[in-house]
C-alpha cells in the first residue's frame, strides 16, 4: 500500500496520470482545471514523465490532438471545464463514435452567461448524449483512484470508449485532502499496457471517420449504442478488482443509510458528503431518510438504480443544472424516466440548487426534506422542479 498524504485534489490527479504512464497530454488551461494541466506540463518539462505535452491553442484542438494520438495507439489524457468543453464539443462526439479510449477529467463549472468560474454541473449535462462513459467523484481519493479506473476501462479491448471523470471545480479540485497513494507496482498490475483494438498504422491501412450515407448511419449508431451498453461487465470488474487491491469498493449506484429509508436524497459528485451529514442528522431525529449517489452516469445503471430505489416513497433529487422550461433538472428527468412504470413508483421531488458555486449546506438538505414531506402531507401537486433558496 502506498503512502497517505495531504494533497490538493488536482495535484493528486496529475500524480495519478503520471503513474498511469500516459503518452500524450493535450490540453488548454481553463479555470478550475488549471492545476492538473500545469502539474502535468511540469512533470514533462522536468523529465519525470516521458510523455508528449501538446500546448494547443484551443480546446477544439486539444480534443483533436487527443483523437489523433489515441488513434495511433498512444495512452492519451486531457482535461477541461465549462466553456472549454463547449468549444471542444464537436470533437467530443467524434472521440466516442470513433471508439477512441481517451481519458478526460472534467473540472465541473457553470457556463456563461453571466460569466462564472464556479462549480455546478451545467457543463457535463450539456454533453450527456455524447456517448462517453461518464462518472462522478466525491473526494480527492475517489478522483485519484478513478484516473487508473478510467484508463483501465477505456482501453479494455471490450470497451474502447473515452471516459470522462467528473470532478467538482474548486469544491474538489482546489481542496487539500488525505489521499492514499497506490504503489507503482499496483498501478502497473491494475492497468495493463494499452493494446488498441483498432489503430492507424501504415502496415494496415484503415480509414477512421469516414462518412456514412442515410442507408448506413442508423446502423453505425445502433452499433455504438450496443457497444456502450455492453461495457457494464468490464466497468463492474474494474471496480471489483480495485476493491480487492486497495480496499475501496465502488459501485454504479451507492447507498448510505438506505435500510428502512422512506425518503432517499439523491446526489452526484461532491455534494454527496454534505447530504450524508444531513442524513445522519435526520436519522438522529428518527426520520427514515437515506441517500443514493449516482457514480456511473453513462452507461446509466438502470438495474442497480431500480434495485437501490426499491421501497422508497420519496426521492429527493438534487440537480446542479437546469433544463429551462423542461420536465425537471437533467438528473431528475432521468430518474423519473428510469422509475416510470415501476411498481409502487416513488414520488420524485426535484430541487435545483448549488448553481455556480452557491453553497448547499446540510441544513439546506434538511430543509428540502421538510418541504418534500410537507408537500406530500398536504397533497400539494408537485412542481416539476423547484429552484431552491432563490430570493423573490
Amino acid at each position: 500500500m502506498g503512502k497517505r498524504v495531504g494533497i490538493e485534489t488536482s495535484i493528486a490527479a496529475a500524480e495519478a496520470v503520471k503513474m498511469a504512464n500516459v503518452d500524450v497530454v493535450a490540453a488548454y488551461p481553463i479555470t478550475p482545471q488549471t492545476h492538473i494541466v500545469e502539474h502535468l506540463s511540469e512533470f514533462v518539462a522536468d523529465g519525470v514523465l516521458d510523455a508528449e505535452f501538446v500546448p494547443v491553442e484551443s480546446e477544439h484542438s486539444a480534443m483533436s490532438v487527443c483523437c489523433g494520438s489515441s488513434a495511433v495507439g498512444a495512452r492519451t489524457f486531457t482535461c477541461t471545464s465549462s466553456q472549454g468543453l463547449a468549444l471542444m464539443n464537436e470533437i467530443v462526439f467524434i472521440a466516442s463514435a470513433l471508439r477512441l479510449p481517451i481519458v478526460m477529467i472534467l473540472a465541473n463549472r457553470s457556463l456563461s452567461s453571466p460569466l462564472s468560474i464556479w462549480n455546478d454541473h451545467t457543463d457535463v449535462m450539456s454533453v450527456r448524449d455524447v456517448g462517453w462513459i461518464q462518472l462522478f467523484t466525491e473526494n480527492a481519493q475517489e478522483v485519484f483512484d478513478h484516473v487508473f479506473f478510467a484508463f483501465r476501462v477505456a482501453e479494455d479491448p471490450k470497451v474502447s470508449f473515452p471516459v470522462m471523470v467528473n470532478v467538482d471545480g474548486f469544491i474538489l479540485t482546489h481542496v487539500i485532502e488525505p489521499v492514499e497513494f497506490w504503489d507503482q507496482e499496483q498501478v502497473d498490475r491494475y492497468l495493463p499496457e494499452f493494446k488498441p483494438v483498432h489503430r492507424l498504422h501504415p502496415d494496415n491501412p484503415t480509414t477512421m471517420g469516414a462518412f456514412a450515407m442515410p442507408g448506413l448511419f442508423a446502423e453505425t449508431k445502433k452499433a455504438q449504442d450496443e457497444a456502450l451498453k455492453s461495457t457494464m461487465p468490464v466497468i463492474l470488474k474494474a471496480w471489483k478488482e480495485m476493491g480487492e487491491m486497495v480496499g475501496r469498493h465502488y459501485h454504479p449506484v451507492e447507498g448510505y443509510q438506505t435500510e428502512g429509508a422512506e425518503t432517499l436524497i439523491l446526489t452526484m459528485g461532491s455534494m454527496g458528503e454534505t447530504a450524508s451529514i444531513a442524513v445522519d442528522r435526520l436519522r438522529a431525529q428518527g426520520k427514515p431518510v437515506g441517500q443514493l449517489k449516482i457514480r456511473l452516469w453513462r452507461p446509466f445503471p438502470f438495474k442497480e438504480f431500480r434495485e437501490a430505489a426499491k421501497g422508497a416513497k420519496h426521492i429527493i433529487v438534487l440537480d446542479r443544472a437546469i433544463s429551462y422550461s423542461g420536465p425537471g433538472g437533467p438528473v431528475a428527468s432521468e430518474i423519473r424516466a428510469a422509475l416510470y412504470g415501476e411498481k409502487d413508483m416513488p414520488i420524485v421531488t426535484n430541487f435545483i440548487a448549488g448553481l455556480a458555486g452557491r453553497d448547499v449546506t446540510p441544513g439546506d438538505f434538511i430543509n428540502m426534506y421538510d418541504q418534500t414531506i410537507d408537500m406530500a402531507k398536504g397533497n400539494v401537486r408537485q412542481e416539476d422542479y423547484i429552484f431552491y433558496g432563490v430570493r423573490e
Binding site: A97, V197, H198, T206, A210, L216, E219, T220, A223
Partner: protein, 97 residues
C-alpha cells in the same frame, strides 16, 4: 468487395466504423447527383488538359487520341470544366432521363 451499404447490418461494422478497404470511395456513384452533363465539341479542343485538372472529382479521363471526356459514373455535373475550358468547347446539357 465487401457488402454494399444497403446490405450491411450493425453487427457487420468494424469498431468505430473503420473502413478497412482502402479506396472504397471509388464504389460511390456520385454520378447520380447530376442534373446536367458536360458535352465536348472536339473540333474546338486544343488538348490543353485544363478541364482535367480543374474537375474537383477527378471524373475526367483522357481518351486514346488525347481528347477528354467525363466518366459519368462520377461526374456530378458541377460545370466547372465548362467554366474553365479555355476554348469554350464544353457545354452543359440537361439530363433527360
Amino acid at each position: 468487395m465487401v457488402k454494399s451499404e444497403k446490405e450491411l447490418g450493425w453487427k457487420d461494422l468494424e469498431v468505430g466504423c473503420d473502413v478497412k478497404e482502402p479506396g472504397n470511395g471509388s464504389q460511390y456513384r456520385t454520378g447520380d447527383w447530376r442534373s446536367v452533363r458536360p458535352v465536348w465539341d472536339k473540333t474546338k479542343c486544343i488538348k490543353c488538359g485544363v478541364c482535367y485538372i480543374f474537375c474537383p472529382d477527378a471524373a475526367i479521363k483522357k481518351d486514346e487520341e488525347g481528347y477528354f471526356e467525363a466518366d459519368l459514373y462520377y461526374c456530378k455535373g458541377c460545370g466547372i470544366c465548362a467554366h474553365e475550358c479555355v476554348t469554350g468547347c464544353i457545354t452543359m446539357v440537361e439530363e433527360e432521363e
